[in-house]
């Protein structure tokens, strides 16, 4: 097996071992921290499909993260207050069921990704970056000025949503749910990156002209990748909202987009396990640097600058060596 595979296995097992250890020594806060890592990693796995495989520098992934969060917030708040979401043309009730919420989060994120992608993929390069950033800001301002769901203050959900057969309020059980979803997403993306679609997508990133010359339209490949990417990040948003039992417009901010991108870059762009390594590193930095200084973002900035200028390939790159074309 290749070294990168080993690094990946160790990361995934380590991510499971830490909360189990925390459970044994009764440190629920550490379990919550690990859950945060898992959810942020999932958001990064989503972005990585667009950014790493497709080469689409989206600075607007907070849109999907936020939509997932609000899908959870809106459904759960209606269920919490026993008021239907809509009575006309059909009756739509709120829901406290995680699977239902996930489905809605994925569907909404996917549809919005389709719309944003269809528009912004008409352009490329810098235009694409600016446009995705701008659409992100649009959702942010909309969420602030739309008063029905808390506006600027956001929405609090008092009890965590339900998953059949589990007590989701127990930190380790909720961790388990998120962990399984992350593993499934990693498996999916790993399959995807080796699939026919993945081959064409990566080729389109490296040389769009070549892909056209063999009769494949890069626009459609990228649009599908953008939608898949949005769906995964949206699901992460729904889980994140459930972890905090709170959603607010801050999920839609451009800083959120930037941070998701940082996980992917710190970990190693385009590598399946990159976002996991990046999210672990980000939370560790936040935890330890944040404990050292109130102004820890300065150090984060300096680190990021260092990685970009001097250490291409990110953490996985350092651990697993240069990227090799897999065969």
């Amino acid at each position: 097996m290749r070294r990168e595979t080993w690094v990946g296995i160790i990361l995934v097992l380590g991510l499971l071992a830490v909360p189990l250890w925390a459970l044994a020594v009764d440190e629920p806060y550490t379990i919550t921290l690990a859950t945060r890592v898992v959810i942020l990693a999932l958001a990064g796995v989503g972005l990585n499909v667009a950014l790493g495989l497709g080469g689409l520098v989206s600075l607007g992934h907070a849109v999907f993260f936020g939509l997932g969060g609000y899908a959870m917030g809106i459904l759960a708040s209606h269920a919490q207050s026993y008021t239907p979401l809509a009575e006309w043309p059909i009756l739509i009730e709120g829901s406290k069921s995680m699977p239902v919420i996930w489905l809605v989060a994925c569907a909404v994120s996917g549809l919005v990704a389709l719309a944003i992608g269809a528009l912004s993929l008409r352009t490329s390069g810098v235009y694409f970056i600016m446009i995705t950033l701008a659409f992100g800001q649009m959702f942010y301002f909309f969420s602030i000025s739309w008063p029905a769901y808390g506006g600027e203050d956001g929405l609090s959900i008092y009890v965590r949503n339900e998953f059949p057969g589990l007590n989701t309020l127990d930190p380790i059980q909720f961790f388990g749910v998120c962990y399984v979803i992350l593993c499934l997403a990693l498996l999916l993306v790993s399959k995807l990156s080796r699939s026919s679609f993945g081959l064409a997508l990566v080729a389109a990133r490296q040389n769009a002209e070549r892909v056209q010359a063999v009769g494949i339209e890069p626009y459609r490949l990228r649009l599908v990748a953008f939608v898949i990417s949005g769906v995964i990040t949206g699901l992460a948003g729904a889980l994140f909202a459930d972890l905090n039992r709170f959603v607010s417009p801050s999920m839609f901010t451009w800083q959120t987009s930037g941070e998701i991108m940082i996980f992917v870059i710190l970990g190693g762009v385009g590598r399946v396990m990159g976002p996991v390594a990046g999210a672990i590193m980000f939370i560790l930095l936040e935890h330890f640097l944040g404990g050292l200084s109130e102004y820890w973002h300065i150090y984060l900035g300096a680190l990021l600058l260092g990685v970009v200028l001097f250490a291409r390939g990110g953490l996985i790159g350092v651990l697993a060596g240069r990227e090799v074309a897999h065969d």
Binding site: M261, V269, G301, L304, L305, V308
Partner: protein, 305 residues
């Protein structure tokens, strides 16, 4: 709805527009000449505002404050160009985004460390405060009028600079063919530093001018940065003329949208619902404008085909 109120809103839109132009002009020049996307442009705007507030606090002079904003932002721009930015010119856009995002983190937290988290206030000087009477008997804040005048003057100066000066010729040459200017014996790295500092100075000036209307605080630059991106996408990357037209379009659309949409919805809805729906939609107006321009002209109104 009175005509006077509408004219006042149009002026507000213009004021917002020229301020956006000061931001976008630098961004679009930097992209046009060096091919760089600079997310830290909003930090330069913030630095200008903080420098102005600090100097105004120490000396009491608004003119000195404005000069300080220009100088500080231009200097900060020159420093980051020499230390970081020039390593990014031949990198891909992703690296540029990340490195300049890292600069935002450093600048924002550095400013918070130096000045604290509380907003500073920059006062409008006495000779510019209060309303003035325009032809037709319209009362309008003198300071906002001054911003429009300063903004248009800077725009005119910038166009003159690009059209007639030696630097302008080099900028235009750099936009059309980067290798060419090297062959002409132009000192490219000096030109790049100069263009970057010029763009930074304009952003700093905008920050100071707006700082006197709003408050001066960490994080003030990024929302304006993103609006400037919308302006550039509409106007076409690299085009200063496009930046001017785009900035005025965005300024007017946003201001008039916020003013008119609640009124429009009020015609057939109860007032409170009309206000909330109207203002929510108004917050989306410029993005809808951007999307429409994109559908019609993916390279912006004045972008190269």
């Amino acid at each position: 709805m009175s005509l006077i109120l509408l004219i006042e809103q149009v002026l507000n839109g213009l004021q917002f527009g020229v301020m956006l132009f000061l931001m976008s002009a630098g961004l679009t020049l930097i992209f046009g000449v060096m091919g760089l996307i600079n997310l830290a442009h909003g930090s330069l705007y913030m630095i200008g505002a903080f420098a102005a507030a600090a100097v105004a606090g120490a000396t009491g002079s608004f003119v000195l404050a404005l000069a300080a904003s220009l100088g500080a932002a231009a200097a900060a721009g020159a420093i980051i160009e020499v230390t970081v930015i020039r390593r990014l010119y031949d990198r891909d856009h992703l690296d540029q985004v990340l490195a300049t995002f890292a600069l935002i983190l450093i600048f924002s937290e550095g400013t918070r460390w130096a000045f604290g988290s509380f907003p500073l206030f920059l006062d409008i000087p006495d000779y510019l405060s209060g309303p003035t009477t325009l032809p037709g008997g319209i009362q309008y804040p003198l300071y906002r009028l001054a911003i429009i005048v300063v903004g248009l003057a800077v725009a005119a100066g910038l166009f003159a600079l690009i059209a007639w000066t030696r630097i302008g010729i080099q900028i235009r040459a750099g936009e059309s063919d980067r290798e060419m200017i090297g062959a002409l014996g132009v000192n490219i790295s000096r030109l790049y530093t100069l263009v970057f500092a010029l763009g930074a100075g304009l952003a700093g000036l905008a920050g100071a001018l707006i700082g006197a209307i709003q408050s001066v605080q960490v994080g003030m630059g990024e929302p304006v940065l993103i609006l400037a991106f919308v302006v550039i996408v509409i106007g076409g990357i690299g085009s200063v003329k496009g930046a001017l037209i785009g900035a005025l379009l965005v300024g007017l659309t946003d201001t008039l949208g916020r003013f008119l949409l609640p009124v429009v919805f009020g015609a057939f809805m109860e007032p409170s619902a009309a206000t909330s729906i109207g203002s929510a939609l108004a917050s989306m107006a410029i993005y809808i404008l951007m999307a429409s321009v994109l559908i019609a002209r993916p390279r912006g109104l004045f972008g190269a085909a």
